[in-house]
């Protein structure tokens, strides 16, 4: 109870205080304190969930289980890392005169509102409240993306606002349809959109309505995740956003949207064969993965490179969830975690590089190992982890996903029932082999594209006029810790996290 209140009040209070305090050191202190409280509350919630199972508080408004605790864990860790990184990053921007000191207030206010909206989206019991919170994340982040107020950032912010709001409106139609179906079973009660009410009666809900609702929600929240073909805002937004904001968008916001889809899927799968939702997720995931792998090859801007790599990894996670089974689901969840860590690290490194080299062109960045050794290390680790090489944890999760894919293939019933779309008849075995082959081919493409660009940036000699050497700041702490975690999780997953992942997998598998 108390920990849930902390979770909601800490960002709210910190956001309010950010508006009235004008000393930058104090702003950062409040930010770190609120993130610290958030992580502490999260740990307590995880312990409760693992001990007693799912629970509701605040009169049924808040519902927490292992899956939401897992998402909260990612929000907490990545948020804390961003807060540490912001200490040196934002002060540096103020010192260089990029932003006026008093605009820090706005930055922190929006940052806390963004966090609050994500926390609400994760703990909300009602599917409707969850929608409201996810739309609120769009509204909170659009000015964060356009924070530098350059032409390009305004363009990226506007594109993000419009595309995501429209996408999300479609998801609201999905929510309305869900309510339409649940009213028929539950009657006109205000709790008819609550997960705790929907799950027990889910098998009696109307399958046609739920199918339609799921498609609307998949498209809507898929826009937020950046699944192809709804991804066009994503590379622009990630490039123009300040580095810590890009890290939050890529590391956390995408995962909250994935969570919203998974929650809906839990309900829909009771009424509709799991192959329907699984097939849709896997196919959308595959489209994103393949498209992004090719786009990675042609990028010459390192922030866009990371943006397309985000689309690629979300695609992989979606394939994992779509294929399903214990292995695929576990791999998908684990991949979300690894991607959040690796991608936030990549954007921290990108922020450091941009401050030193003043360019986002890959061709103009050379000799990072000499100019910024710590950042070069971070970039290499992030690049290797994003290419899913051993010994990094993302290697383990990607292998889990591809193993599940090879064993089970894309859920078949959906493919066969929509015979018009797949005109050539494939035997199940052959199609799963074909998909696995395509998966591995694209993985290699993305791997070579990413590593080729990154090694080009790390080695060589720095151009004239670029300072050499790197002074230690607080912003380096999260980079080192995340790098160590990414390697460590590849060998050994600590017991509480493993248990949390297993419980979350179980929740997703009960059909």
């Amino acid at each position: 109870m108390i920990e849930v209140l902390v979770l909601l009040i800490a960002p709210l209070l910190a956001g309010g205080l950010s508006l009235v305090i004008h000393r930058s050191a104090l702003l950062h202190a409040i930010n770190l304190a609120s993130m610290g409280l958030l992580v502490a509350a999260e740990i307590m919630i995880t312990r409760t969930v693992l001990r007693d199972g799912p629970f509701t508080v605040l009169g049924g408004l808040v519902y927490l289980d292992a899956l939401s605790a897992f998402i909260l864990f990612i929000i907490g860790v990545v948020g804390l890392a961003c807060s540490l990184y912001m200490r040196s990053y934002m002060d540096d921007q103020v010192a260089r005169g990029v932003i006026a000191p008093r605009r820090l207030n706005l930055f922190f206010f929006l940052f806390h509102m963004f966090l609050l909206a994500m926390v609400i989206a994760t703990v909300a019991n009602s599917v409707g409240v969850q929608w409201v919170a996810i739309e609120a994340t769009t509204l909170a982040t659009t000015f964060l993306i356009a924070f530098w107020r350059r032409r390009e950032s305004l363009e990226a912010g506007w594109k993000y606002l419009i595309l995501c709001s429209v996408g999300i409106s479609l998801a609201l139609f999905g929510v309305v349809l869900t309510y339409y179906s649940s009213l028929q079973v539950l009657g006109d009660v205000s709790a008819a959109l609550n997960v705790t009410q929907l799950l027990p009666v889910a098998d009696r809900l109307n399958p046609h309505v739920l199918k339609l609702a799921f498609i609307f929600m998949l498209v809507g929240y898929g826009t937020k995740i950046g699944l192809v073909p709804m991804h066009s805002w994503l590379p622009d937004a990630y490039t123009e956003a300040p580095a810590p904001v890009a890290a939050m968008l890529a590391g956390v916001l995408e995962i909250v949207a994935v969570y919203a889809i998974l929650r809906m899927r839990m309900i829909v799968d009771h009424a509709v064969p799991a192959a329907f939702t699984g097939g849709l997720l896997a196919l959308l995931g595959f489209t994103s993965f393949v498209t992004a792998a090719f786009f990675i090859l042609i990028q010459h801007n390192y922030k866009r490179l990371f943006a397309y790599s985000s689309i690629e990894h979300m695609g992989i996670a979606m394939i994992g969830f779509g294929v399903g089974g214990p292995l695929g689901t576990f791999g998908g969840l684990f991949h979300l975690l690894n991607h959040a860590f690796a991608k936030s690290m990549a954007f921290f490194a990108a922020g450091n590089i941009h401050r030193r080299f003043h360019t986002v062109e890959i061709g103009q960045v050379q000799g990072l190992a000499i100019a910024q050794p710590w950042t070069a290390m971070a970039l290499m680790v992030a690049g290797l982890a994003l290419s899913a090489l051993p010994p990094f944890a993302s290697f383990v999760s990607e292998v889990q996903v591809v193993t599940a894919l090879a064993a089970q293939g894309i859920p078949g019933q959906w493919l066969h029932s929509s015979g018009g779309m797949v005109t050539f008849a494939l035997s199940d075995q052959f199609s799963s082999l074909g998909f696995t082959g395509l998966f591995l081919l694209c993985a290699v493409l993305a791997f070579s594209g990413l590593l080729y660009r990154i090694t080009g940036m790390v080695w060589g000699t720095p151009p004239e006029g670029i300072a050499r050497g790197e002074t230690w700041t607080l912003g380096h702490l999260p980079i080192i810790v995340l790098a160590a975690t990414l390697v460590g999780f590849g060998f050994f997953l600590p017991q509480p996290i493993r248990q949390l992942l297993e419980e979350a997998t179980k929740i997703l598998l009960i059909h």
Partner: protein, 221 residues
């Protein structure tokens, strides 16, 4: 006064149809300020529909939603948009990617699509207003199309607001309104979104000397 369910259902359908009709008017309208007026008119029809549903069903919380719609979508948002348009001085004709007759034809096709999609699920509803679900989806799709077909930032915003009206109609007519907490949240989001978009148009004007989003082409592959 007691109205028979059949007549009540007809009345709600009539109001929904009026909403749909204003959608077509918006698509056919070339002047930006007239588009905003039409949006306000559509919102007024929405208030009427919601109040009618509230009266017929006795669900009093729909009155709250209707009142909020009136306040936010009939008064506040149109005023904000008018202010923005005045400041931008964009009273000229709108730039359209699709001309008016073709646009109207496409909208007609979208209405048919909406009825086609919702056909299997409408008979399942037990509420007297279930037919409005198809009209609601049609309005959402037309709003979506308006956003694609128009280039000015303000008219894209009008398209978005039309979509929201369609969603609200769907929620009110098909389900007698969402739970109050959700409805309040949605209103809050729409209001903030409109205000943010208003701020954006000012900044875009300052940065590009234009709110024509076709100028937003710096970010390309």
């Amino acid at each position: 006064m007691q109205i028979s369910p059949h007549i009540g259902s007809q009345l709600v359908d009539l109001c929904s149809a009026l909403l749909l009709l204003t959608c077509f008017a918006i698509v056919a309208q070339r002047r930006l300020s007239a588009c905003v007026d039409l949006f306000a008119l559509q919102s007024a029809f929405l208030v009427l529909t919601a109040a009618l549903v509230a009266f017929l069903t006795g669900n009093h919380h729909i009155y709250i939603a209707a009142g909020l719609t009136g306040l936010i979508k009939v008064i506040i948002i149109p005023r904000v948009l008018k202010k923005v348009i005045e400041r931008l001085n964009v009273k000229r004709e709108l730039v359209m990617n699709v001309n008016v007759p073709a646009g109207l034809l496409i909208c007609g096709a979208l209405v048919m699509l909406a009825f086609f999609i919702t056909q299997p699920i409408i008979p399942l509803g037990f509420l007297l207003t279930r037919d409005s679900l198809a009209i609601a989806l049609a309005i959402v799709l037309i709003g979506f199309f308006t956003m694609i077909a128009r280039q000015k930032a303000v008219s894209q915003l009008v398209g978005f607001l039309v979509m929201e009206n369609g969603l609200f109609l769907g929620a009110t007519a098909a389900t007698y309104g969402m739970p109050l907490i959700v409805e309040l949240g949605v209103f809050f989001d729409v209001l903030i979104a409109a205000l943010i978009a208003g701020i954006y148009t000012n900044r875009l004007q300052d940065a590009f000397d234009s709110v024509d989003t076709s100028h937003l082409t710096v970010l390309k592959e």
